[in-house]
């Protein structure tokens, strides 16, 4: 399992990672431990999980279900508590959820009783901004996600993709240091999802924000990320942090490029490791037969 040495193949990619590493570390995760259950029967989701994310970096975390990638996102957001370890945001330990860490959830969590614009204004008003200021800023953010026309609509009038765009605008309006996205496009159909990925890249280019993106879709991770954090189960934790060799700006045309395929292969290797022992074609065949069927 070796990737082509993309640092030599593509100096632009190497230079990009060089630039990223020169930026300050915005989120630092140290020896994070999370376990569930009590009274002896504990299940350790991950232990000694450490990660450093640089400013304006796009990090995707992938892994099979149960690897704790969503739990990790929720701990960073402050919605769940870790059992041990430390998370520093701008060198300050985090305590509980706060507007400095925006979150976009998989389910549509727009407030159904507020119009699209009021949803975006919510965080601004919570921060104590004057309604007139908040209104102007909300409008700018809606413009950014291309939904200025829908400012007076209610969430139920929007499609799934539009709702998630409002959710992104709502989270970004608070000017967070990091945007945590927990499988935000998983509920969307394939076509909308790829549009949303393009939107996200477009927005990310214009906004000074670091993104921690949780997904189970390897293509999505390969398409979006600077670095991909591959997580595993039993034992849980980070298996590898892969620097994405696919050059930016990204486009769907790259899906068949050599870097993309090599990266995909490597990710697949982690997610679906080849099983030792019996090859698949030697598995005994289960025959579902009915009386009278001619079975060979």
């Amino acid at each position: 399992m070796t990737l082509p040495d993309y640092r030599e193949q593509a100096p632009a990619v190497a230079a990009r990672f060089q630039r990223i590493h020169e930026r300050p570390v915005i989120l630092s995760v140290r020896d994070l431990k999370k376990s569930f259950g009590s009274n002896g029967g504990t299940h350790v989701v991950f232990d000694h999980l450490s990660l450093e994310i640089h400013r304006r970096e796009f990090i995707c975390a992938v892994g099979p279900s149960g690897c704790g990638k969503s739990t990790f996102a929720r701990i960073v957001a402050g919605l769940d508590a870790a059992n041990a370890g430390q998370i520093l945001l701008n060198n300050q330990p985090i305590a509980g959820p706060g507007p400095d860490r925006g979150m976009v959830f998989q389910g549509y969590t727009l407030f159904p009783w507020l119009t699209v614009r009021s949803n975006v204004m919510f965080g601004l008003l919570m921060a104590g901004k004057a309604p007139s200021t908040a209104e102007g800023e909300a409008r700018e953010w809606l413009d950014m996600v291309g939904l200025a026309k829908f400012e007076h609509s209610y969430p139920h009038e929007l499609s799934g993709g539009m709702k998630q765009r409002v959710a992104i605008a709502r989270a970004l309006a608070n000017n967070p240091r990091i945007l945590i996205m927990d499988e935000p496009f998983a509920a969307l159909d394939a076509q909308t999802r790829s549009q949303m990925q393009n939107y996200l890249l477009q927005i990310w280019r214009k906004v000074d924000v670091t993104i921690l993106f949780i997904t189970h879709d390897l293509d999505e991770a390969a398409y979006l990320a600077d670095r991909i954090v591959v997580m595993g189960v039993n034992p849980g934790g980070i298996r590898e942090v892969i620097e994405n060799p696919v050059p930016r700006p990204r486009s769907p045309a790259q899906f068949l490029g050599p870097e993309f395929l090599a990266l995909k292969k490597r990710l697949e290797h982690h997610i679906h490791p080849p099983v030792e022992g019996e090859p698949a074609d030697k598995l005994p065949m289960v025959k579902l037969t009915h009386a009278g069927d001619e079975v060979e």
Partner: protein
């Protein structure tokens, strides 16, 4: 895709059929009533004497069982005496539909027999006032307690076990106690309605508040909301439509406690009217008064349902989650509700 089966399992019917069935749900019982009232050979167990003939204890206008009547007819025939005449009628406690309809009008027009007795509209007004006061006082305490209980486990554990116990105590059982404490006027009646409504109210509202999607609260937290602002700005708005529906249902329950409440102390309101009319054997008025309670209740509920759609314009226009409304007329859901416009396609995806 469209299924034109009348009995499609859990399938919405076309509007025309829904209207038809709504009409039928009223017309069918009415039709049964009409048949029993107007078709002389169905039921009509009494004979209304029009000519007493030779039977000495018969008199014109008397109503006797048919069996008795025909025995007397047979006896008179055998004795060669004058045969009594009569027509088949229903008992006085089953007036015909047109009599009840007429009573709707005449009951309001007829002055009370005694000077100090209330008119029908006064009785109704009295009942509505009792209901309103009872429901108001119950909600005044029940709403905040329910919301607190649904929001904080602390309040839930502190009050709900006792309320669970108390709600099994039948409100009428407190009648004597209420009279002893509050006198015989309206206060004990209002108290009965409060007792009947309050405990259910706290539990039902607490449940609705507990159903708030935790993801909404989490989303608000990541947007910087905390403490009481989380309750005011998220928990309450997120559950307000359910609370509103609960209140509508609870108001219906309050009506069922009305009749019990009104016999506590001095009988009053619509119950007094119904009892007196029954004593005077004006059964058409009794039916009219009972129907009026139904009509007022239904009309209030429909009005509130409509008002709900005005108050909560965000209420998801989705058949599966809609609250029950009787008439498609007031159905907040337009039948072929337009699908949300897709804007994605309009925006250039090129990147």
């Amino acid at each position: 895709m469209a299924n034109h089966d009348w009995l499609g399992l859990k399938q919405e019917l076309p509007q025309r059929r829904r209207l038809l069935l709504t009409a039928a749900s009223f017309i069918l019982p009415l039709a049964i009533w009409c048949v029993v009232s107007y078709v002389p050979w169905i039921w009509h167990p009494l004979m209304h004497i029009t000519d007493a003939g030779s039977v000495d204890y018969f008199s014109t206008g008397l109503e006797v069982p048919r069996v008795t009547f025909f025995q007397e007819v047979a006896k008179a025939r055998a004795a060669g005496l004058e045969v009594p005449k009569g027509i088949r009628v229903n008992p006085p406690y089953l007036p015909a539909p047109h009599e009840v309809v007429r009573a709707f009008y005449t009951a309001f027009k007829t002055p009370p027999r005694l000077q100090d007795e209330p008119w029908l509209h006064q009785s109704l007004g009295h009942s509505i006032r009792t209901i309103f006061l009872g429901f108001f006082f119950s909600s005044l305490i029940g709403l905040p307690l329910g919301i607190l209980s649904g929001t904080y486990r602390f309040f839930s554990k502190l009050q709900e076990p006792f309320i669970e116990f108390f709600r099994y105590l039948p409100a009428p059982a407190f009648g004597a106690l209420c009279v002893a404490i509050l006198g015989i006027e309206d206060a004990p009646k209002v108290a009965i309605i409060v007792i009947g409504t309050f405990f259910q109210q706290v539990l039902v509202i607490a449940n609705s508040v507990r159903k708030v999607d935790p993801a909404l609260i989490e989303a608000a937290q990541t947007l910087g909301a905390k403490g009481w602002r989380l309750v005011i700005r998220v928990v309450i708005p997120a559950s307000i439509t359910d609370i509103y529906t609960d209140m509508r249902i609870l108001l219906g329950w309050a009506w069922t406690y009305l009749i019990v409440a009104e016999v506590v102390g001095t009988m009053s309101g619509i119950t007094l009217f119904i009892n007196q009319q029954a004593r005077y054997r004006n059964f058409d008025n009794v039916y009219a008064a009972i129907a009026m309670i139904g009509i007022i209740g239904l009309a209030t509920d429909m009005l509130l349902a409509w008002f709900g759609t005005v108050l909560f314009p965000w209420k998801k226009k989705n058949r599966k989650t809609r609250t029950h409304t009787l008439f498609p007329l007031f159905d907040p859901v337009p039948l072929n509700s337009a699908k949300p416009k897709r804007a994605e396609a309009a925006i250039a995806p090129a990147y």
